[in-house]
Symmetry: C2
Subunit: 425 residues, 2 copies
């Protein structure tokens, strides 16, 4: 173990928010409080984007109650961004950014840097780590995993994933009950669109709603399996004949056999001349309704699914928190250039721990669902997937309320005094 490194801590968030990313931040803050070598705890507002503008807040000015409440507060309480320091696309700007970033880091004596995010964010963390080594500046940079998409390699799963599939599977059960209760002779269909980009993890997770064979979802259209319209229509009609209704879940990134996204309507251009993304569910409804003469409705949960803290998985909240704690412990032990990962020790009973993975192994890789976790006919994930996913949705929160609604954290956000000249535009 190396010598304790004295200095300040900077934690920030990046990429699409989740229901539990703030729990990771709470974990970082909680663990940091146990180590005297960590002097001040700062939050970087809106990730790298705000840090470049020296927009830091002093976490020491927050009530401990608010930090506790972060465990149950959705979205990125410190703000997030999609800004990337991109040496490939714009090396000149990237070098400028990196210089500025280290000006901020040095000006505030940041010695501990934690960045919670997905693929791109881990890449940024790695760049900070490498640049510090080059400059001979002693800093411990550790990535905290986060993404509802569950597409990061090397970690068993990502914090955020368990909660999104718990909420989405519940929605499928509820919408399924609704349609089943309306099922008279005419038959009906409901298409539920979920997130996940090119990966089908989120769509696949809704299979957990199935208790019995006839239960919804009846068809899950995974982006991993190219969409075949004819086969899909036959399968949907079969389902309606059998059950009186059909619930279809579609991953937003579903592609046809030629690799085109189903949701992209190329006949329709927006004001900027780009094809309008009608959405996969709307597109499928346009196919199903006339072809099968079937009342067809759509549900598009959109941002609601990744922010649904009110029905988050307690397991997910705990794991996200533990990832934050583990990041700080690793840094205190002298590590830098790693991402915390979740390691599964057993399925039943479900046991897990955290580990470390070099950041260079994470960037620009995408983990998809293994083909052997999907039924042969491609319509549903199989029992191997269920064994993997079921433990991740366990445990209900005790969510405090205010006025009958969830009591989410409100941070004071006391700004750290700026000491640098403003960022040049």
């Amino acid at each position: 173990m190396s010598q304790p490194l004295a200095g300040n801590l900077l934690v920030a968030q990046s990429g699409g928010p989740t229901a539990v990313i703030n729990s990771s931040i709470a974990g970082v803050i909680s663990e940091a409080g146990r180590h005297e070598c960590i002097e001040e705890i700062y939050g970087g507002m809106n990730g790298v984007y705000g840090i470049l503008q020296e927009n830091l807040i002093d976490i020491g000015e927050e009530n401990t109650k608010s930090i506790q409440a972060l465990k149950h507060t959705p979205a990125a309480a410190l703000g997030t961004c999609r800004y990337k320091i991109n040496f490939k696309l714009n090396p000149e700007q990237a070098e400028k950014d990196m210089n500025r970033l280290f000006e901020v880091i040095e000006a505030h004596n940041i010695r501990y840097f934690f960045y919670a995010g997905g693929n791109d964010s881990q890449d940024t963390t790695n760049k900070v780590h490498l640049e510090a080594a080059k400059r001979g500046y002693d800093i411990r940079a550790i990535g905290v995993p986060k993404t509802i998409d569950n597409d990061l390699p090397h970690t068993d799963h990502t914090p955020g994933y368990g909660s999104v599939i718990k909420y989405n599977a519940t929605t499928v059960m509820e919408v399924g009950a609704d349609l089943r209760s309306q099922a008279t002779d005419e038959g009906s269909c409901c298409i539920i669109e979920v997130m996940g980009r090119a990966a089908g993890w989120i769509a696949a997770g809704t299979v957990l709603a199935k208790e019995q064979e006839d239960d919804p979802p009846h068809i899950i259209l995974l982006p991993e399996i190219p969409f075949n319209e004819t086969k899909f229509l036959v399968k949907a009609m079969d389902t309606v004949t059998k059950n009186g209704y059909c619930i279809v879940v579609v991953g937003e990134g579903l592609k046809d056999t030629e690799g085109n996204e189903i949701g992209a309507d190329k006949t329709k251009l927006d004001a900027f001349g780009h094809p309008v993304l009608a959405g996969a569910a709307e597109r499928l409804a346009e196919i199903v309704e006339p072809a099968l003469n079937l009342k067809t409705r759509t549900v598009k949960l959109g941002y609601a699914q990744r922010a649904a803290a009110h029905y988050a998985s307690q397991t997910d909240v705990d794991e996200a928190f533990a990832c934050g704690e583990a990041a700080v412990r690793a840094a205190i032990e002298g590590q830098s250039g790693f991402m915390v990962k979740l390691v599964r020790e057993s399925d039943e009973p479900y046991k897990w721990t955290t580990g470390l993975q070099p950041l260079e192994d994470i960037a620009n890789q995408e983990a998809l669902i293994p083909r052997e976790w999907i039924s042969e006919d491609g319509w549903l994930p199989n029992e191997k997937f269920e064994k993997y996913a079921r433990p991740l949705i366990q445990g209900e929160l005790h969510l405090p309320t205010r006025g009958g609604l969830p009591a989410f954290a409100r941070l004071n956000k006391v700004a750290v005094e700026k000491v640098l000249p403003p960022l040049e535009p």
Copy 2:
């Protein structure tokens, strides 16, 4: 008090399901069990539609556990329908239906008839009541109110409404947190479409998400206020300039100044030649994105909102249950031809009781939001509305789970033996 009337009970559901309509059925069953004059308790499957086919189930064959679980199970556990005995549109069929209905009622010695539903369902209950009087058949027909739309007259509110606005307001808070955390310089907009048909009650209910002035929702487009595109765009831009983002809630039935539904896209016809209902949110996004050059996303909760038992209001569950109980008590006391209504006794503390309203007062009337409950500029409901709505979302459920997901009731549905010839097609 009249003599106890001995015979069987028939309870059924009709119209669009809600998160708590089964709680009303549980209330009917629970109260019925206390009265010895009620011999058998039958459930009519899929409302009048199934009753005409003599599709009845024997509730006595259900586990008491399942009946308890109905309080937390969304949608219509007995099935529902949109079938209406319509003397105006088709008097011949209606008379045939009414004869058949009374064949079924008499064949099974039904003396207590409870029908949970909205406007049309109350009309059906009234017809049963009037027809029985005409025939000299002694039956007690009582309507149980139900509709997420909250558009029934004479009742303070309808069971189902509190739960849908609790869930929708929570969704607005969560989606709002998500957008706020992404708010950097570019600005963004999210349009959330909710149900409610021509009434704005559901859309209005999302105002409860607002704790502070800048909180979402920033704009609520109520069908009661004709949509003015230019004013809307100015208001949305103002909001983005001030907050960095804008959350718009739109009632599905929003109309322009000429009374046309915003969601109807008349330039696009479906396979049957009807204009495609693109949805109000999608339509608004098409307006906002190019006009304000603003990243705009949509959320369409669809059926998910009316079936969201996992975050139902305990107050709503209790009131729905009490309406079922009150219906049976009224019938036992000799009443017929009434709908149970909810009567508010005070706002703070919130106190309520049940009452009875003649069914003839309910049918074909629609209650809209009073203009004085909406801000002068029309963008948001005001404090009068909030005072009305806030009590309805209070109380969190203790929802049992199975495998990490809500444990909803599964009825055995043991069919009552048919004694009549099948319904002629």
